[in-house]
Amino acid sequence: VFSRSGSRGDWLEDLEEVLVTADLGVKTSYDLLGEIKKELDTKPLGPLELKNALRQKIGSMLAVQAPAFAPASAKPFVIMVVGVNGVGKTTSIGKLAARLRGNGCKVMLAAADTFRAAAIEQLQIWADRAGSDFVKHKPDSDPSAVVYDALQAAKARNTDVVIVDTAGRLHTKANLMEELKKVKRIMSRELEGAPHEVLLVLDATTGQNAITQARTFHEALGVTGIILTKLDGTAKGGVIVGIANELQLPVRFIGIGEAPEDLREFDVTLFLEAIFG
């Protein structure tokens, strides 16, 4: 993309294509390119320097100032996992459970998706894989009741980390968002400080709607971090740049596959590498 000697207009257009096709969105891309153009007015930058300047800007946008992910800071440490349908919540919880168990934590999974067909069975299999405790009720029961029981059990059993799986729901459904707020309220009522982490799961293949999702879930619950899944595909997940800039939400983990070990901590350098090649 930069190997030919084009005009600076060409380079900027090429960079625009790189950013937009990585799902950074027009607004974020134009803002970034606008800043780059200003620098061009003060010094003659070649295409490689332009690219690096852009990389640096995006990198600093992603370096969000937020408290670290610290599961040892409370006991039981409660993680609530939320997001729209099909993004990878249940699978990510399974992976996280495996990782925490690997770090010597006693983990409990709470099956608070009481709605979707076989959601409880799906999480049960992940709990078995990771050797986690498992709390469930019957399908169609109240998710708040599941969470209540899980927290009582966690306190009694000396559990280190509780991870709560919730049903996927579109952020546009007010009653479902209310249900989630209620689940969170029950948690804080039963355990001071809970939930200690509210993780929003975003699918890397999602376009600009991811920003609306982040805004809505954040407004409703106070999201503390993001898990960006399916980065093993060809999508770049650039939506997190605008989200970091606007909402200051850190990406805690990324999903790079469907197996228990396919969870990584977010690495800005690798992320930028995938976008800029």
């Binding site: 294509e17 937009v20 096709t21 990585a22 799902d23 969105g25 027009v26 607004k27 729209v84 349908n85 099909g86 993004v87 990878g88 399974g94 709605f115 979707r116 067909a117 076989a118 069975e121 799906q122 049960q124 299999i125 992940w126 579109l170 952020h171 546009t172 699918d203 293949t205 999602t206 376009g207 600009q208 709607n209 991811a210 609306t212 399916k230 093993d232 595909g233 060809t234 999508a235 770049k236 939506v239 469907e258």
Partner: protein, 292 residues
């Protein structure tokens, strides 16, 4: 929204009557921005605005007394033209039992859509048989089995230790024996770049010669929609697309991208989590939604 923005651009025109190069450029830029914000693919947007510009520089707009209206009309027409102007149907003739194979990325809504299609087909007096062919995802077979119980449609008793190709063959035999006329086969979510799993789909197709291969795509998919759709289409020659989760507020530009790169019709849209939430695709409604 775009119509408002365009009317602002063309308001300036009314004073001078005809369109000039500058307001045409501005209008094209507004269209481009609206489509990109709606997640239409970058290259698809370029081709689309190119097509609009070609028509807009002709006498149709330039000589018109209401160039603004003409321009908006062209944008709408071009969009509906690309989306497919008529309603596409399922082609289930010629085979007994007929079979639909649902394919797509992880989490796009295949299993749920399989159940929805069963309800849809039963409402058209067909006799569907659901076939769980996902042996990888934890509790995938249970999920479709549960849905089948909810809607009272029989579900093939697949097992996780089976090969999906064998499942499909056995299910077809079973459907014939039971007098079911339509198989709805739910496959595992997979990446378009996973050669082994893409080959599995090719083997399924070879084994049962499906009436339709339907790609299930999430309406909130971004720029990657073109990569995914073109690869699935290239390897399997899909018959149509079902766009899911349109009950959200994603603009759905992926619909335009997918149609533009595959040339295949979007046949249905998923508009909710319940098994009755399936509707036929309306290109004009989708065009309005994308334009914002």
């Amino acid at each position: 929204n775009l119509t408002d923005k365009l009317s602002l651009v063309f308001k300036k025109v009314r004073g001078h009557g005809k369109l000039n190069e500058k307001n045409l450029q501005e209008a094209l830029r507004d269209v481009r921005m609206a489509l990109l914000e709606a997640d239409v693919n970058y290259k698809v947007v370029k081709e689309f605005t190119g097509a609009v510009k070609a028509r807009a520089t002709g006498s149709e707009v330039m000589e018109s007394l209401t160039p603004g209206q003409q321009f908006v009309k062209i944008v709408h027409e071009e969009l509906i033209q690309t989306m497919g102007s008529k309603q596409a149907e399922l082609d289930l003739k010629g085979q007994n039992p007929a079979s639909l194979v649902l394919i797509g990325l992880q989490g796009s809504g295949k299993t749920t859509t399989a159940a929805k299609l069963a309800v849809w087909l039963r409402n058209t007096k067909r006799n569907p048989y659901l076939v769980p062919a996902d042996v990888y995802r934890p509790a995938a077979i249970e999920q479709l089995t549960r849905l089948g119980e909810q809607i009272q449609v029989p579900v093939h008793p697949s097992r996780v230790d089976q090969d999906p190709v064998d499942i499909c063959r056995e299910a077809r035999e079973e459907a014939r024996a039971q007098g079911r006329d339509t198989l709805i086969i739910d496959t595992a979510g997979r990446l378009h770049i996973d050669e082994e799993l893409m080959d599995e789909l090719r083997r399924i197709r070879e084994a049962i010669q499906p009436s339709e291969i339907l790609m299930i795509a999430d309406a909130m998919t971004g720029q990657d929609a073109v990569n995914v759709a073109s690869r699935f289409n290239e390897l399997l020659d899909i018959d149509g697309v079902i766009l899911t989760k349109l009950d959200g507020d994603a603009r759905g530009g992926a619909a335009l991208s997918i149609r533009a790169v595959t040339g295949k019709p979007i046949k249905f849209v998923g508009v909710g989590e319940k098994t009755n939430a399936l509707e036929p695709f309306h290109p004009d409604r989708m065009a309005n939604r994308i334009l914002g």
